[in-house]
Amino acid sequence: MKNDLRQYREARDLSQADLAAAVGVSRQTINAIERERYDPSLERAFKLAAYLDCRVEELFDPRLNGTGQAPESFETTARTSRRR
């Protein structure tokens, strides 16, 4: 998943090791997330966002891989099916 973790981390002058220790993972895990090779668990994503003082959706791009579009909300889906 696309994310801005590196930008948020560097803006706060943190090393990967600092961030890793703060959220309870290894430095390699932070590196893998930044390189978009690994998507963290929901719990870890919230911990990262809380530590970096931002919202999860600011840190992680909700657009689905490959489609370039955000997933439809329940409301949108319901409205579309009502019109049919």
Binding site: R12, A20, A21, A22, V23, G24, V25, S26, Q28, T29, A32, Y38, P40, S41, R44, K47, A50, Y51, L52, D53
Partner: protein
């Protein structure tokens, strides 16, 4: 920036500490075994030396398992656990494929006498078969915990 909880930092510190102990334990065991083999080859050709090396080797791994089994700290983080799961899944799939094709093939070839399957291949196929049975039993046990 929100301050991280002390618990998170402590968990990481303890994880690193325990993993270091585990690594050292295996290191001592392996070093003991190789030292004993070296001593047996070049110094004293006594069975006791080899047995002592083997005992050290086993103790090293027992130490590893003791730390792994007794600690409440997660020794591997979520990415490492996912790597383990994926690697284990690939091995399980490959083993199952060998069994699915190998066991009936072995039985038919043996029965018809078309090909004499070597004992080593025969043994390996049934070894894999037992692994798959074990995997299915453990899978059933684990899946019950999540049902």
């Amino acid at each position: 920036m929100t301050e991280p909880t002390t618990a998170e930092r402590e968990t990481v510190a303890r994880r690193n500490q325990y993993r270091e102990w585990m690594g050292r334990s295996i290191g001592v065991g392996l070093a003991g075994l190789f030292a004993a083999i070296g001593a047996w080859l070049f110094v004293v050709r006594s069975d006791v030396v080899l047995l002592a090396g083997l005992a050290l080797y086993y103790l090293g791994f027992v130490g590893y398992l003791l730390v792994w089994g007794l600690t409440s700290v997660a020794l591997f983080d979520e990415r490492e656990r996912r790597i383990e799961n994926e690697a284990g899944g690939i091995v399980a799939t490959a083993t199952t494929i060998v069994v699915v094709f190998g066991v009936p093939g072995d039985v038919v070839l043996e029965t018809t006498g078309l090909v004499a399957v070597p004992d080593a291949v025969h043994g390996a196929i049934y070894g894999y078969f037992l692994l798959v049975v074990g995997y299915l039993v453990v899978y059933g046990y684990v899946s019950r915990r999540y049902s």
